[in-house]
């Protein structure tokens, strides 16, 4: 046995390397190269050092981290009851809630910003934190809920039988078991909030600024690339720190208990648990408020209620604001998101398979490589879309085929954003595949590809489908990179919404909000499909 293992090792490593080539190549060309190129331009201007030591830089960094941390805490606090509801409570309406919580996640920041602004005219830090949390409750509810639903309930029951209060049982049994999911969700939410752009710009007025808004300002308005480079370095450092913390906590999942299906663990809530369920529904109601405000605006005109905005979706807006009709923009969104999802699935799944293989491979080197690749895959969420977008301008023109003018650039950029999410969803499931099954197959003579096809793929199929659908939803709502790269003859729905609210005229405005409603409906439909796929499964995906 020992000799065969040793003989197979080089072949195994070669296989892993082959798997990792595509994801690494993709990240290198579409992420690392552009980002490094734009940073180098900044350094060649000089002055990065001075900008790095300005007090203002560190004030910005402090505010950025502070607001992101606060938003993460709020999202976690609001998401936990919802996670409980999704995972453990057998009450009516859970399915609807599960589908619904995804909706805020895809709304364009500009309309949500305007809705929050209308609800809390004062603005300020509290509104920024609430709006950031609004977007990210879904991440917490689904990530934590996903693990919670499959957690063996007997540990908790034993604690209760031994006289622990429900709160104590939760604190000492359930919470530690949930820690990896909490950490994972926390890290993702933190990244999203630390780089949140439109919300801070709209709700911060002129007073509150973050690294992200300042990088945008310096790059786009002032062309101060050295200042932007300095800020990008600080941002990168903060992101890496967050990823490191998240990674540390995630590693504890290795010892996770055996998992159960939700059907086994969900019960009708009793006594105190009703309070938690009540809190969950309160959170859902709170999420509904900005959404209702958007819907109201899509229906109201100066002269009362009207469906004009929805009818206008068949046209191109007042005075042809858009290059295409509202429906065409919706179709474009679907097309672009399909391409992005396809691309991201290929890259993401290969990356996840490579990561699993690296972890299983003997030797510290392979493990270390795995950790680095894992972190590198998450980075695109934490780096400013402006940095990447301007990087594309100065690099992609050097490729044999000038991608800067290609319609494929948008799905490429969207894929970059959703690959990390897909990896986070697929990875734990692939890791949870029982190694003994694979060994048995190998002993029976199956090669590595056949083992993957016969063992891993069927076990992970549903999670792969769910990851694809989730990636699809995120691509549908992606605004930052898309608005930067989309061509005027092919705007996606969020880009069209942004263009419509940016023009005078009542009809444009109403059409923008009607388009939001359309986006929400499409999202809800896709989310409903995800959940149909997930319902009977007994595996854990984060989200």
């Amino acid at each position: 046995m020992a000799t065969t293992t040793r003989a197979r090792r080089p072949a195994h490593l070669a296989g892993v390397t082959a798997l990792a080539v595509l994801p690494i190549g993709f990240l290198a060309v579409f992420f690392a190269w552009p980002v490094v190129a734009i940073l180098r331009l900044g350094f060649s201007d000089g002055g990065v050092g001075t900008a790095l030591f300005e007090v203002q830089t560190w004030q910005l960094a402090a505010f950025t981290v502070g607001q992101a941390a606060a938003s993460t805490v709020v999202a976690l606090l609001a998401g936990m009851p919802v996670a409980f509801l999704l995972a453990r409570a057998r009450v009516r309406g859970v399915g609807v809630v599960r589908t619904f919580v995804l909706v805020p996640f895809v709304l364009p920041t500009v309309v949500v910003g305007l809705a929050f602004k209308a609800l809390w005219p004062g603005g300020g830090v509290v509104t920024i934190v609430l709006a950031n949390a609004f977007f990210n409750v879904a991440v917490v509810a689904r990530t934590v809920g996903g693990l919670w639903a499959h957690l063996d309930r007997r540990g908790e029951d034993a604690a209760r039988a031994l006289g622990a209060s429900p709160w104590r049982a939760f604190r000492s049994v359930t919470l530690p078991a949930l820690a990896p999911a909490l950490a994972s969700a926390g890290a993702v939410v933190f990244l999203f909030c630390a780089t949140s752009f439109g919300i801070v710009l709209l709700l911060g007025g002129s007073r509150y600024r973050t690294l992200e808004t300042e990088i945008y300002l310096r790059t786009v308005n002032l062309l101060d690339l050295s200042g932007a480079a300095a800020l990008s370095l600080v941002q990168l450092a903060a992101v890496l720190a967050a990823l490191g913390l998240g990674g540390l906590a995630r590693r504890r999942r290795e010892t996770a208990a055996r998992l159960r299906s939700r059907a086994e663990t969900a019960r009708r809530p009793e006594r105190g648990e009703w309070w938690v369920v009540g809190a969950a529904f309160a959170v859902v109601a709170a999420l509904l408020v900005p959404i209702a405000a958007l819907l109201l605006r899509s229906l109201s005109t100066r002269d009362g209620w009207s469906l004009d905005g929805y009818r206008a979706l068949a046209g191109r807006g007042e005075d042809a604001t858009l290059g295409v009709t509202g429906w065409d923009a919706a179709l474009n969104s679907l097309r672009t998101a399909s391409d992005a999802t396809l691309l991201a699935m290929i890259v993401g799944v290969l990356a996840a398979v490579a990561l699993v293989a690296l972890r299983r491979a003997p030797g510290r080197g392979a493990r270390g490589a795995g950790e680095v690749l894992d972190a590198a895959l998450m980075l695109p969420i934490g780096v400013s879309a402006v940095t990447v977008g301007f990087g594309y301008l100065v690099t992609l023109g050097d490729l044999p085929w000038d991608l800067r003018t290609s319609p494929l650039l948008v799905p490429l950029a969207q894929a970059l954003v959703i690959i990390p999410l897909i990896v986070r969803m697929v990875l734990p499931v692939l890791r949870s595949v029982d190694e003994r099954l694979r060994q048995a197959a190998a002993t029976l003579g199956a090669g590595p590809v056949r083992v993957w096809r016969e063992i891993d793929l069927p076990l992970a199929a549903r999670s792969l489908a769910a990851a694809a659908a989730f990636g699809y939803v995120v691509a549908l709502g992606e605004f930052g990179a898309t608005s930067f790269l989309a061509r005027p003859d092919a705007p996606t729905l969020p880009v069209a919404i942004g263009a419509l609210v940016g023009r005078p005229g009542e009809l444009n405005n109403q059409m923008a909000y009607a388009a939001c409603a359309l986006l929400m409906v499409v999202t809800a439909l896709v989310a409903a499909v995800i959940d149909r796929l997930r319902a009977p499964q007994a595996q854990v995906g984060e989200f």
Partner: protein
């Protein structure tokens, strides 16, 4: 059973995705024979398809449009890509950013035969690297109905805005993040000079000026005269905005204060390094032509640079071109923009 269902859904997704992809959809090769010129412009670009088609029929040149953010962002992207330009011709660099583009040699000289029919009035470069296409003045707008209802006299000048009678009524855009915001700041510099503009802004601040990040928020959310019906009856917007706010009775609900305007001229030019400078020049000619100029007011809410082009009906009353706007020389703006914004931030945000 459930595996079958998964398989079915996957197949369905596959079929949908196959029909829903960009990979096969682009029919780019059908027009291979036709020369294509890429026009790089800003996000406000809008022109009727018929006008573009007519140009293609006349010249055999097809125009592909790329939108690259607002005027400032467009300029910066052009500067960044000047060694390997993203297009052949650019339109939308405005007077505020023109000197940055000229300093960086983004454009090459091109004298359009149409250039002496009005655009020459706004010339910024002896080498003719930029030709003026349109004029879009930034002005303070007011909701006339709001003042009429309350029997308060309408404000008229910049000084009025600092008058306690108009306390808490004005909303402006942040000059650091918004181009109309910057234009308004420049207007105050032009009006009160290097010595006085900060003092004026202190007075505005004491008078309760509200600052928001961008035009969308200021105009559609805070302003009472737009569809958002916000709380503030005075806003910084464009001279042309009232043309979009004409009521059912045919009368404009809002009005631009013509003594508060800052002139912004938008230019077009042939990008240095293009492989088809002749065709790019033809596109500049097209942008200055009667045909195109007649569309800019209706589609982009700006005023044609060409003389003798009629404005849409209603504009004469609702949105006449300001006769006496302020403007600062491009070099002065280029040299001081950052410092002014920094001082403004210290003053208003601090």
């Amino acid at each position: 059973m459930s595996f079958l269902r998964t398989a079915a859904v996957l197949c369905l997704t596959g079929v949908l995705a196959a029909g829903c992809t960009l990979f096969a959809g682009e029919g780019e090769d059908q027009d291979k024979a036709q020369p294509t010129v890429t026009l790089v412009t800003h996000e406000s670009w809008a022109v009727p398809k018929e006008v573009l088609d007519a140009f293609t029929n006349q010249t055999g040149i097809r125009i592909t449009v790329r939108k690259e953010g607002d005027a400032g962002e467009l300029t910066n992207r052009l500067v960044l890509t000047k060694d390997n330009p993203i297009g052949d011709v650019a339109y939308g660099v405005d007077s505020t950013f023109a000197s940055r583009a000229l300093d960086a040699d983004v454009f090459e000289p091109y004298t359009s035969p149409e250039g002496d029919r009005g655009p020459q009035r706004y010339s910024v470069d002896p080498q003719n690297r930029l030709s003026a296409v349109d004029v879009g003045d930034v002005c303070v707008n007011i909701d006339t109905g709001w003042f009429a209802e309350r029997g308060i006299a309408e404000p008229e000048s910049l000084d009025d805005l600092a008058d306690p009678r108009y306390r808490n009524l004005l909303v402006v855009e942040n000059p650091a993040t918004s181009s109309p915001g910057l234009a308004f700041l420049l207007r105050t510099v032009a009006e009160y000079g290097e010595q006085g503009w900060q003092d004026y802004w202190s007075r505005l601040k004491d008078n309760g000026v509200q600052v928001v990040s961008g035009w969308t928020e200021a105009y559609t959310q805070e302003f009472s005269g737009s569809s958002g019906q916000g709380p503030k009856p005075i806003v910084v917007s464009y001279a042309s905005s009232p043309a979009a706010e004409i009521g059912d009775d045919g009368k404009p609900r809002t009005k631009a204060l013509l003594d508060t305007c800052y002139r912004q001229v938008e230019y077009a030019g042939v990008l240095a390094g293009t492989r088809q400078p002749d065709r790019a020049g033809k596109v500049v000619d097209f942008l200055l032509s009667q045909q195109f100029q007649a569309t800019v007011a209706e589609n982009m809410y700006v005023y044609p640079a060409r003389e003798g082009v009629a404005l849409p009906s209603g504009w004469a009353q609702a949105a006449p071109l300001p006769e006496d706007p302020a403007a600062l020389p491009g070099e002065r703006v280029q040299a001081n923009r950052e410092r002014w914004i920094k001082q403004w931030r210290g003053l208003v945000e601090g």
